[in-house]
């Protein structure tokens, strides 16, 4: 449904996206994961036909986004990162306008506007000016305008950014539901979001794809408790030595806590190893007091570090 082939984008002399290729089959939700400045928005702008790629092709539902632009664009609903809506229109008149320019005609259009208002739970605000809505509600209107013409493809640029945690959960649920009738590509820099919502993940860093995998196997490989924080009462140097000698431990960082005799250790384990039982055992064996043992998920930065510096997770795209 979405086919991206060897796409690059150059801003002046700066190469923002370099030779990116991936394919999203019908009905799939693809997560596009990357840190700030990775090139997510740039890639999405090329997919939606806002800007042409410097080289490479994008095909939407069989239409080339550049040479058959209008046909291709009819199949796309797009939510840009900044949710740029007309603040001087009411929710209903805005959705009606978007319906019109996406080719809907009354009475079907009126029906769609009502359906979308209901689905996005905007009933209460249907006649409110968009400028008066909170960020979370604007986001709903933004998603609403993207789905008004029932497009095959939805392109959502960071759809959960800047809204409160409850609405984030709701939005993720909504995207999953939308995945039943739409092919979706969504960008994010939140790792758990990908495993919650998406079936497949493409990870991009500095304009290049560093990994592409199913969400499940990626989170199995990356989501484990590879970093553990320990709070131990005991002789710091001996504790650190004992922990470091455990098989599977890569590094041990030591931090003083301010309390005499109590120290904090940050233990990094080899990819895919859960060493929490061994860590607990070694400390109790030495009759030190284990005050805290906490698994810390990997941050996105850690993942990029690993993906780009180690061979442990090959990019099996």
């Amino acid at each position: 449904m979405i086919d991206v082939q060897h796409v690059s984008k150059r801003y002046g002399g700066y190469l923002a996206v370099e030779d990116v290729s991936f394919h999203v089959p019908q009905g799939q939700i693809l997560g596009f994961l990357g840190p700030n400045g990775a090139g997510k928005t740039t890639t999405m702008r090329m997919i939606t036909g806002y800007m042409p790629p410097s080289s490479g092709t994008v095909t939407i539902a069989g239409y080339d986004i550049f040479s058959q632009s209008l046909q291709a664009r009819r199949h796309i609903g797009y939510l840009p990162e900044t949710v740029p809506l007309y603040t001087d229109m009411t929710v209903r008149s805005y959705l009606d306008f978007q319906g019109t320019i996406h080719g809907l005609k009354d009475p079907h259009k009126r029906g769609r506007v009502n359906t979308v208002i209901e689905r996005m739970r905007l009933d209460e605000y249907a006649d409110t000016y968009i400028g008066k809505l909170s960020k979370g509600y604007r986001q709903r209107v933004g998603i609403g305008q993207a789905i008004i013409h029932e497009p095959d493809v939805l392109v959502l640029d960071e759809p959960t950014i800047g809204i409160d945690p409850i609405q984030v959960v709701e939005t993720r649920q909504l995207i999953k539901e939308l995945g039943q009738d739409h092919t979706i590509i969504l960008s994010t820099h939140i790792l758990p979001e990908v495993s919650m919502v998406c079936q497949r993940v493409v990870i991009i860093n500095e304009g290049q794809i560093v990994a592409a995998d199913t969400a499940d196997s990626l989170s199995a490989k990356l989501g484990g408790p590879e970093r553990v924080r320990l709070l131990v009462r005991g002789p710091a140097r001996e504790v650190a030595g004992a922990v470091r000698d455990l098989p599977g431990v890569q590094t041990v960082e030591h931090e003083a806590t301010g309390t005499e005799g109590v120290d904090r250790f940050l233990v990094a384990c080899r990819m895919g190893r859960d060493l929490r039982p061994q860590l607990a055992a070694v400390i109790t064996q030495h009759k030190w007091d284990l005050l805290e043992l906490q698994a810390i998920g990997m941050s996105l930065e850690d993942i990029f570090l690993r993906l780009t510096t180690s061979e442990e997770l090959p990019a099996n795209a």
């Binding site: 806002y50 800007m51 042409p52 809506l85 229109m89 019109t100």
Partner: protein, 238 residues
């Protein structure tokens, strides 16, 4: 065309809910009304010349304030991105915006129609120049609106857009004055005269309808709209 009309309709609604449009229209009506009454009372002449003269210059000053928002704000808010990824041609976006601006300028001029009404009720004016004068002032407003739209496509800053529009409008308003200094090069002088909006407007107000003038004014509008389309296209390539 349906898309252009939808965009135009949306622009009209935006105008009618924006204070800027009302302030501009109020200034235009008050100022032209003053000159009209002055002409009528002082010169005791049943003619509209006292209105058409200042009205043209007021349009030149006020049109940029009406058009500056059209595309500059879309760029500032980022909503141009949604408009340009909708299944709408760039030409339809530009024509839609232009329809909105024309409707605004047109309604402002329509509100002055009570001047000729008063004249016809209480005097016996020559209807010819009144009709051609209104054709002229509408075409002039249409030219300023087209230039203003082009200026608005060039920047995301509305003030800059207004200043650029004013600059271009003044250029094409005054070019003939510069031309009249070129007495010894008649070719250049005539060309500059022809490129000047005030030349053609002046003829229409005097009741003279010259096909060459109409061709020029319409070409002027089409050229400005064409440049606006190109300006939007280059935005995609940045």
């Amino acid at each position: 065309m349906r898309n252009a009309l939808a965009i135009g309709g949306k622009e009209v609604r935006t105008y009618f809910s924006s204070p800027m449009a009302y302030v501009v229209a109020a200034i235009f009506l008050a100022a032209t009304g003053f000159f009209f009454v002055q002409d009528l009372a002082v010169l005791q002449l049943a003619r509209l010349q006292g209105f058409f003269g200042p009205a043209s210059f007021l349009l030149l000053l006020l049109c940029p304030l009406l058009t500056m928002r059209l595309l500059a704000e879309e760029q500032k808010l980022g909503s141009l991105e949604l408009l340009l990824t909708a299944p709408v041609r760039d030409e339809e976006v530009v024509i839609g915006k232009y329809i909105g601006a024309l409707a605004m300028v047109g309604s402002m001029l329509a509100l002055t129609l009570y001047f000729p009404l008063v004249l016809f009720l209480f005097g016996d004016p020559d209807p010819g120049p009144v009709l051609t004068g209104y054709l002229g002032i509408f075409l002039l407003g249409a030219c300023f609106a087209a230039v203003g739209l082009f200026a608005s496509s060039m920047t995301s800053n509305q003030i800059v857009a207004a200043v650029i529009a004013l600059g271009f409008s003044l250029l094409f308003w005054l070019a003939g004055t510069a031309g009249s200094m070129l007495q010894e090069v008649p070719g250049a002088r005539d060309l500059l005269q022809y490129l000047t909006l005030s030349t053609h407007y002046g003829e229409l107000v005097r009741g003279v309808v010259d096909a060459r003038a109409l061709v020029y004014l319409l070409s002027f509008i089409i050229a400005a709209l064409f440049l606006t389309v190109r300006s939007i296209e280059t935005k995609r390539w940045r």
